[in-house]
């Protein structure tokens, strides 16, 4: 859910949207926002699954320090989605384990 209007921050003036793909599904994102913001706005809260127990993980620190939010972005694993901005046509995949092929 996006905060379109806010008593202190005012109206969200960002109008430009781009499209990104998350696990094959196309979603709308606001230009320049962090990947995690676009995901959350579209109700996606799971970023990855752990190696051994295959447990889901999502955002924890939000400022790029804990790596709980990493996903595979344009083929590259371990990208911190909370500090990486979206780009038009970006391909984002839920990360399984610590590298791409580790399902």
């Amino acid at each position: 859910m996006r905060v379109d209007n806010h008593i202190i921050l005012g109206k969200d003036e960002r109008k430009e949207t781009i499209e990104i793909k998350v696990d094959g599904k196309t979603i709308q994102a606001k230009k320049g926002e962090m990947i995690i913001a676009a995901l959350m706005a579209n109700g996606i809260r799971i970023n990855r699954y752990t190696v051994k127990k295959k447990e889901p993980r999502g955002i924890f620190c939000g400022i790029g320090q804990c790596t709980d939010c990493v996903m595979v972005v344009n083929g590259k694993p371990n990208v911190r989605t909370c500090v990486t901005p979206v780009e038009d046509g970006m391909i984002i995949e839920t990360q399984y384990g610590v590298e791409r092929g580790n399902r």
Partner: protein, 367 residues
């Protein structure tokens, strides 16, 4: 190797106020920050600050941030964003992984005359069954999502911790349109200011003192939280469990200074729980046990934005003095005024523990 007079590591309130004080007197200052945007945590503080009306009390943190960055621009402070200081080597060599305009990365080594470590602090975790579920996050993460990213991290939130961060972020979650189902606090009394608590109580948010979280339940996401009462030995009391329907659990259990770079350069540290944990020692000029290396803001002890701004000013002034950009006399006068304001900010029942802890740092430094 590049040479710079002053390198400030960390572009938050303490780093930038140090940069401004030094730069406005003629020093060559570079601020390095790993984020895409400068300002540290200040741009998340949408509430009005307390403090002295002669020093921006009543102004929102976000506006203080904009003004500070504007001052830095006017003083000619150089800023490298999206650049991480990966190492601090003897003597005063700063290794930076710099991201250039075309998004390529370059390793730069800077020989600095003076360094200001303003790396801030990181949130503590509280571990409980189910804490790894998506939906459990730091209160700071929730604050970043709502105030910077303008996205709700969830709709029904349980806040753990009733210090000022817990109380303030709870209110900000309400302002963003979420429902805060409750604030829990393990201690028998509320940690933060009465006025912050009163604000959320008026808004209908219950505060459960002497309560802790037992479990977060859910298949792949937080769906429920189990809280329970604790006795005076902080132990859970059987039979007092309450189940709350929440989708998000935010943790506001304190912060700890990010001291890695200070340690790399052998700055002596001391364990001071009142200031967040291991804290590098500093003197009255905010200089560490390593001459020429200064520490300001939360890294020098977790306090608040106002003290961070003043400590930054103190170090910046001290640096300008040692680099001979201002006279000893002027420096003494300016530093005295800053110390008066710092002491004022540390007065009262909420500040006195920090005041004592900070005095202990100064004493330990001399040993």
């Amino acid at each position: 190797m590049i040479e710079k007079e002053v390198v400030v590591i960390g572009g938050g309130p303490s780093g930038f106020s140090a940069a401004v004080e030094a730069a406005k007197r003629g020093a060559e200052v570079l601020v390095v920050d790993e984020n895409l945007r400068a300002g540290g945590q200040l741009f998340k503080q949408i509430h009005k600050f307390f403090g002295s009306s002669t020093h921006q009390a009543g102004v929102r943190g976000i506006d203080i941030a904009s003004e500070l960055l504007e001052q830095a621009r006017e003083c000619g402070v150089e800023v490298w964003l999206n650049s991480v200081v990966v190492g601090l080597f003897k003597e005063k060599k700063v290794t930076i992984k710099k991201t250039l305009a075309d998004n390529s990365e370059k390793l730069e080594i800077i020989q600095a005359k003076k360094i200001v470590i303003a790396t801030g602090a990181s949130e503590n975790a509280v571990r409980f069954k189910g804490w790894t579920l998506p939906g459990v996050m730091g209160a700071g993460a929730a604050q970043t999502m709502i105030n910077v990213n303008r996205v709700l991290p969830g709709k029904r939130i349980l806040m753990i911790g009733s210090g000022n961060v817990g109380l303030i972020v709870s209110n900000q979650l309400l302002q963003a349109g979420a429902e805060v189902v409750g604030v829990i606090e393990a201690a028998p009394q509320i940690g933060g200011y009465g006025v912050h608590a009163a604000k959320i109580r008026r808004a209908g948010v219950p505060i459960y003192t002497s309560h802790t979280i037992q479990e977060a339940r859910g298949k792949k996401n937080v769906e429920k939280a189990v809280i329970c009462e604790v006795n005076d030995k902080w132990q859970p009391i059987r039979g007092t469990e309450k189940i709350l329907e929440v989708d998000t659990i935010t943790i506001a259990a304190g912060l700890k200074p990010l001291i890695e770079l200070a340690m790399m350069h052998d700055c002596k540290c001391s364990f001071i729980p009142q200031l967040g944990g291991w804290v590098p020692l500093h003197d009255k000029n905010m200089e560490s046990t390593n001459p020429g290396i200064y520490l300001v803001g939360d890294v020098a002890g977790v306090e608040e934005a106002n003290t961070a701004l003043e400590e930054g000013r103190l170090a910046g002034t001290a640096i300008a003095e040692t680099l001979k950009y201002i006279s000893l006399g002027n420096a003494r006068k300016l530093k005295k005024e800053i110390w008066q304001r710092l002491n004022e900010l540390r007065m009262g029942p909420f500040g006195e523990k920090r005041m004592l802890a900070k005095n202990n740092i100064l004493t330990a430094y001399k040993i």
